[in-house]
Symmetry: C2
Subunit: 297 residues, 2 copies
Amino acid sequence: MRIAFFGVGHMGGPMAANLVKAGHEVSAFDLVPALLQEAVNAGASAADSPARAVENAEVVISMLPSGAAAKGLYLGDNGILDAIGQDSLIIDCSTIDAATARELAAAAAADSGRVMIDAPVSGGVGGAKAGTLTFICGGPEDAVERARAVLECMGSKIFRAGDNGAGQVAKICNNMLLAIHMIGTAEALQLGVDHGLDPKVLSDIMFASSGRNWSLEVYNPWPGVMEGVPSSNNYQGGFGVNLMNKDLGLALEAALASKSATPMGALAKSLYGLHANAGNGGLDFSSIQRFFKHRDE
Amino acid sequence: MRIAFFGVGHMGGPMAANLVKAGHEVSAFDLVPALLQEAVNAGASAADSPARAVENAEVVISMLPSGAAAKGLYLGDNGILDAIGQDSLIIDCSTIDAATARELAAAAAADSGRVMIDAPVSGGVGGAKAGTLTFICGGPEDAVERARAVLECMGSKIFRAGDNGAGQVAKICNNMLLAIHMIGTAEALQLGVDHGLDPKVLSDIMFASSGRNWSLEVYNPWPGVMEGVPSSNNYQGGFGVNLMNKDLGLALEAALASKSATPMGALAKSLYGLHANAGNGGLDFSSIQRFFKHRDE
């Protein structure tokens, strides 16, 4: 298939490369020339404008850093929506607010009946490279089914959360819960160590008990407890504190809109905000463990 | 073996019954005659005083509601410590503060070199009845090994967290983390539902993603999502809000003693405290889901 791909950064780059590997013809565009060149090195062709990228594209995929960027791409001054073929499927993989996702899908449909879904991902850069991402989709059932063959080139799990915007909501609910159990795990480990327990032994006990969670299972935040995770590599790589802060901000905006109470989510946002403000925004999010460390009094 | 068992309530009763089933000779004592009668119905013999219960006992087990109760039993006016044979093994399964656990073990050792371990449990009344409890032990390695054969009659997993008191610390770290991810799960589900998502679909997505935790796996708090859990039975049975509040109180006391920061744990204590104060202390702890429900404005 002919696929236009917008945004070939840390996530989009390897995703586009996996589409090329699967035999698709990928026309890439990015505002950063170096990223575009990497996509070309991986076998994509470089489009010299957004409009040229979507020419003849059967599928349009975007992986952008914000709702404003996605809105600019599709509906801005040189927005591409008009240039996209009316039979094309549009898949926005960016993590953005649900309201903007719904607005974009409505604009696509109103203009010409084009079909758009939101399909934010879970799994990070590692999952993007390995082609094992989880796609959490929002949109009409038949559109999500049409997208499946393409998404399966980049991911191993494809969920439909509901109608347009629902993918975004499910993604931020998940990441809010992730932030909460990561911080909770860090607090519990520090409390145990402060009382003389071995962090590995305590981790094993809690993983085998009702404290079990994903952070303990595959992403232990205490350095040295688990191999091959950011905590054992000075919190390099992985999912950054700044990105977690962005997702927690989206969660709180969503909670505000629906008058939902999220006290744990709000506290998680405050703690990750403080952690970022202390200069840790570029570290992996499991570095919140350091926040609880005792230093000299 | 001859085993003295103190405290045959909701947890201790089925635990003592499982010891009887395994062929042990159990001498039970409880301040509540009806509970003691149930233990007798299950095959234990009723001791008419604590001192008589421990006569000739090779193992002494206690399952009491508080550190004060445990201290009273062993070291109070009619404390049983002196009456316990010097070669006996003492296993306190109560969930109490680590300092009292250490004090009791030290008193047992100082008095006569008797060996005592703390072995609080995880798994609730269901696990006690099924004999599938998790024991989280603190004490000397050889003492925990001696206890293993007896504990295996009542549980399926036996951990040693460290020296005396470490079992209590690991237990409260686990339960603090449990409270945090249960509340986080409830918040995330409510936020998703408030944006039109189906709680079952959202649960499946988060369980397959990085939000995964024990609450989503076996104890979903949203009514109807999962069968056979308290949320699908009006939050009856299970692990009570009052008990969770007790354990969170122990966690905060421990944090105070070690100058550890537990912001999520402290918030969990406040939320469960408010939930109990609103009249929900007797419900299962997953009923915190109700705390986030929208009612008429």
